[in-house]
């Protein structure tokens, strides 16, 4: 199976059968798109031993024929495909500046949300992406080195633990993958936020704001402006390849920072944050 995410094309092979049906539901028309084109990354599952095909079955995910990851139980392969795709891009694409963040766009203006795991950035981005915003990515901002604009990838959004219920309760008709329990991150499910047809209309967008979110249950909404030095430092800290790109990364980030406002967000009410973000675009 080939998954075309826009900038990156992946071939998935050797996965348990259930993975293909789940990926087909998540990625729709991005599956096996333009099969004549080359793929960028090969994700291939292999068995670790004959015995392990029978007793507590497990597989190992290889990237371009290299064994990178530890073996995983057969019923936990689906999230590993998504994580493997993230790993490929973060490890190998040095033609763009990559920042660990989700990205939302409205009116061709982008807001990026750099934050550590567990901050709620994917939940926030998914809820808003299902409610009028364009979700360019729930995992990484892909920044053009010349224009400092961000571009979209067609990927499913990753949800963990309580976030799965939160998003499902508000958008019960959204397309969810099956939930994989007991991964290193807990329960994991993916949700399709945009169809391929919608994604095909997503062009490069200028970054107008950078918001560092922190979900705190029961907290009042607090919006703290940050200065550009603080914002620059946040982006450096969350970049996958800033130090690899050298001066080109520095120049790109400076260009991005010049046109952006910066905020730290502490919230529990997504609607209030959504209302604030609307004022930025």
């Amino acid at each position: 199976m080939i998954i075309d995410t826009g900038h990156y094309r992946f071939r998935v092979s050797g996965a348990p059968e259930y993975c293909y049906s789940e990926l087909s539901r998540m990625y729709g028309d991005s599956v096996n798109l333009s099969p004549e084109k080359p793929v960028d990354f090969q994700l291939d599952f292999t068995s670790t031993s004959w015995l392990r095909t029978l007793v507590r079955p497990q597989r190992v995910l290889n990237v371009d024929n290299q064994r990178i990851f530890n073996p995983i139980a057969k019923d936990k392969c689906l999230p590993s495909i998504e994580w493997g795709m993230n790993w490929c891009v973060a490890s190998y694409d040095h033609t763009r500046l990559l920042i660990h963040s989700s990205v939302l766009v409205k009116n061709d203006k982008a807001i990026i949300f750099p934050a550590a795991q567990g901050s709620g950035k994917s939940t926030l981005a998914t809820l808003l992406g299902l409610n009028g915003w364009h979700l360019y990515s729930d995992e990484m901002a892909i920044v053009d080195l010349n224009s400092a604009t961000v571009s979209a990838v067609h990927r499913a959004s990753s949800l963990k633990n309580q976030s799965i219920k939160v998003v499902h309760s508000q958008f019960p008709n959204a397309v969810f993958s099956r939930t994989t329990e007991g991964t290193q991150k807990g329960a994991i499910a993916h949700v399709q936020v945009h169809s391929r047809a919608e994604f095909d209309h997503f062009g490069p967008a200028s970054v107008v704001a950078v918001a560092c979110p922190k979900y705190v249950g029961g907290a009042r909404t607090e919006i703290l402006p940050l200065n550009q030095s603080q914002g620059f430092a946040q982006l450096v800290r969350n970049s996958f390849n800033y130090s690899t790109l050298g001066e080109q990364g520095f120049e790109t980030l400076f260009k991005l920072v010049q046109g952006a406002e910066f905020f730290a967000l502490r919230y529990s009410n997504v609607n209030e944050i959504g209302d604030f973000l609307e004022t930025l675009v």
Partner: protein, 82 residues
């Protein structure tokens, strides 16, 4: 040019100075009173080293800024007069 291995830029909001080291690919952030006086290229935001060095002899803030660069190991404190 001396110190050509570092690039100095001021943030447009004057919140600080960012220094990129071309040798190590590291970035340092400096908050210093001299940020208010730094003359940067309006397009690139880059500070002209020749201008900066010319200020050091007569401007205490400029001298303090250069001291900050020395303290951070970004420039060699002993090489300025060479």
């Amino acid at each position: 040019m001396l110190y050509s291995h570092i690039v100095i830029k001021t943030m447009p909001d004057r919140s600080g100075i960012v220094v990129f080291n071309r040798n190590t690919f590291t970035t340092q952030f400096i908050q210093n009173p001299f940020v208010e006086q730094l003359k940067a290229d309006p397009v690139s935001g880059e500070v002209d080293w020749n201008w900066l060095q010319s200020q050091c002899g007569q401007n205490q803030d400029a001298h303090g800024f250069l001291s900050d660069l020395v303290d951070l190991g970004l420039v060699d404190g002993g090489s300025r007069d060479h």
